[in-house]
């Protein structure tokens, strides 16, 4: 085997084909499926463990404290300590809780979160299933997460958890629409719902600059809207009112302890990685390198590097911005992000039909910047003079 950059890039498909040579012909489909799925099942929970450490250290440094530093050098063994704690903690279920639904809710969440990785292309020729309607599959699976959140909150039969679940479900369904609309722009431009072909269309270079969709006016706005919606979908700060510890104790997973709580944590972070992975696939060029002279680095390294950058951005935003109130959150969704997503679609259509050159850059940027500025001003002005009325407390 000659050690070229091509070999390093394709090391995983080559290893899979070599391992499949040992399997008898009858069991080939099953073995192929297992060999495709097992690396994802190992890699992303490992990334989850690393992210918990990164988050606690990062947030600690942003808040002018050290973060965990006792378990191992620089606190690097903290995820192992967390795992041991959550596995050995007593599993308390309230007596009045609905035991079957209480048990099934974290399982549904983790199953849905893992299913979403089936359509993400992690490297060149490294996707589990190349579905024709891959992006639609991703959003269909993402919409089952809301049901599991409701199941968790309702089955605990406690007022805090039900309130947290209602808020979380309302937030998730409100932000699902801008997420889908921001994706439709990419689908329009790429002409396909398959994630593999969307990445293939972004893998070319003009000179040294890549063809990523984020380097267009509608691509940048779409990326920003998608990341706002993804932050809200994963219930992360600044949209974590349903699970903020200072607001509603822990929202819909108050009554969960031990391993089930760890499963909820895992499911939430896996959902965050999956939506980041989809953002990378749609906007940031998937596994392609940012400059053509860097293309010798393997494709999966670029995917995970971009994923780590997005995770660092999530942690940074969590440490920086204050939490949004529920009505501010819903206002942002319906009165700012949704109109901007619709205008983005219009501008992407105009981009497609104008001839290439600086003219379409100017026109499209102006058409996007004007509503953005006007909407922000309108919302700010409305809030200044708005008297807060309480609809049910009088």
């Amino acid at each position: 085997m000659i050690l070229t950059p091509q070999t390093f890039d394709q090391i995983f498909p080559i290893a899979k084909l070599w391992l499949l040579g040992f399997v008898p012909a009858g069991a080939q489909p099953l073995a192929s499926a297992i060999l495709s799925v097992v690396p994802v099942l190992i890699a992303f929970p490992l990334l989850f463990a690393i992210t918990t450490w990164l988050e606690r250290k990062g947030l600690g440094r942003m808040q002018n404290r050290l973060g965990p530093n006792r378990t191992g050098p620089f606190g690097l063994l903290q995820p192992i300590a967390d795992a041991v704690k959550s596995l050995t903690k007593e599993d308390i279920v309230p007596i009045t809780a609905d035991h079957v639904v209480h048990f099934l809710a974290p399982l549904v969440l983790v199953a849905a979160a893992f299913l979403a990785y089936a359509v993400l292309p992690i490297g060149r020729n490294m996707v589990i299933v190349n579905m024709n309607a891959g992006v639609l599959f991703f959003f269909a699976i993402g919409s089952t997460v809301e049901l599991s959140v409701f199941m968790a909150g309702w089955s605990s039969r406690s007022k805090y958890s039900l309130l947290g679940a209602m808020r979380a479900v309302a937030q998730m369904i409100s932000y699902e629409i801008p997420m889908v609309l921001a994706t439709i722009v990419i689908i329009m431009q790429a002409g396909s719902l398959s994630t593999v072909s969307i990445v293939d269309k972004q893998a070319g270079y003009t000179g040294i600059f890549p063809h990523w969709y984020v380097f267009t006016p509608w691509g940048i706005v779409g990326f920003a809207l998608f990341m706002i919606a993804a932050t809200a979908e994963s219930n992360r700060s600044p949209f974590d009112l349903p699970e903020g510890e200072s607001e509603i104790i822990a929202g819909y997973y108050i009554e969960y302890s031990g391993f089930k709580f760890a499963l909820f944590f895992l499911g939430e972070y896996l959902g965050m990685f999956a939506t980041s992975g989809l953002a990378i696939t749609l906007f940031l060029g998937g596994w392609s390198a940012p400059f053509s002279f860097l293309a010798w680095i393997p494709s999966y390294v670029w995917f995970f590097a971009k994923l780590l950058v997005l995770i660092a951005a999530f942690i940074w935003i969590r440490g920086t911005l204050p939490r949004l109130r529920m009505d501010q959150l819903m206002n942002l969704a319906w009165q700012y992000v949704l109109p901007m997503a619709l205008i983005n679609m219009l501008v992407a259509g105009i981009w497609h039909f104008m001839p290439t050159g600086p003219a379409r850059w100017l026109v499209c940027t102006a058409l996007l910047a004007a509503p953005c500025i006007l909407l922000s001003l309108a919302l700010k002005r409305k809030q200044r003079f708005q008297v807060r009325t309480y609809r049910f407390a009088e």
């Binding site: 579905m131 639609l136 269909a140 699976i141 919409s143 089952t144 409701f150 479900v169 369904i173 719902l193």
Partner: protein
């Protein structure tokens, strides 16, 4: 009648029967979700992937949540234990059984049981998009109008009006 069809059929019928039979309304909706997922899996087995994923997204992701929210909002604060079934439930069962027997007899005696299975049609989303834009553009526009009217109508009907002075 492959094994996968039997498993999915049993799962779907069990879910839907539980959805219509259980006492607790939220349990009914959760069983209904299982039934919807089973129907989506049957669509995938028939080769209609777009419809299957749309079924999951619309029914499991939207209609089930809508039903659950409605149950939460119409929950009476004093837990009055109503009987789950109407007082004339026997007639309902009789009518449903009659409908099923007529349909089953029609199916068994009607369709020409041709043993030659047509090949699995390989359609992709582009063809569905083209069909929507060319042959079915009028239903598409009417559907947009209908969804807008339904959205506005549902919000107006369900809105809590507090204009009357107390």
């Amino acid at each position: 009648m492959t094994v996968s069809f039997l498993i999915l059929a049993v799962l779907t019928v069990a879910g839907m029967a539980a959805a219509m039979g259980l006492r607790n309304a939220v349990h009914c909706v959760l069983a209904l979700t299982v039934g919807f997922a089973g129907v989506a899996a049957l669509y995938l087995q028939l080769g209609a992937q777009f419809v299957g994923f749309t079924q999951i997204m619309v029914y499991v992701g939207a209609v089930a949540i809508l039903a659950v929210f409605a149950i939460m909002m119409t929950h009476s604060p004093t837990p009055v234990q109503l009987p789950a079934y109407s007082s004339r439930w026997a007639w309902g069962i009789v009518v449903a059984a009659a409908v099923f027997s007529v349909l089953a007899w029609a199916i068994r005696s009607g369709t020409a049981s041709s043993q030659v299975l047509p090949p699995q049609p390989d359609i992709d989303v582009q063809q569905i998009g083209e069909a929507l834009m060319h042959r079915f553009v009028l239903p598409l526009e009417i559907m947009g109008l209908l969804l807008t009217a339904a959205l506005i109508g549902a919000v107006v009907i369900a809105m809590d009006r507090k204009e009357e002075p107390k």
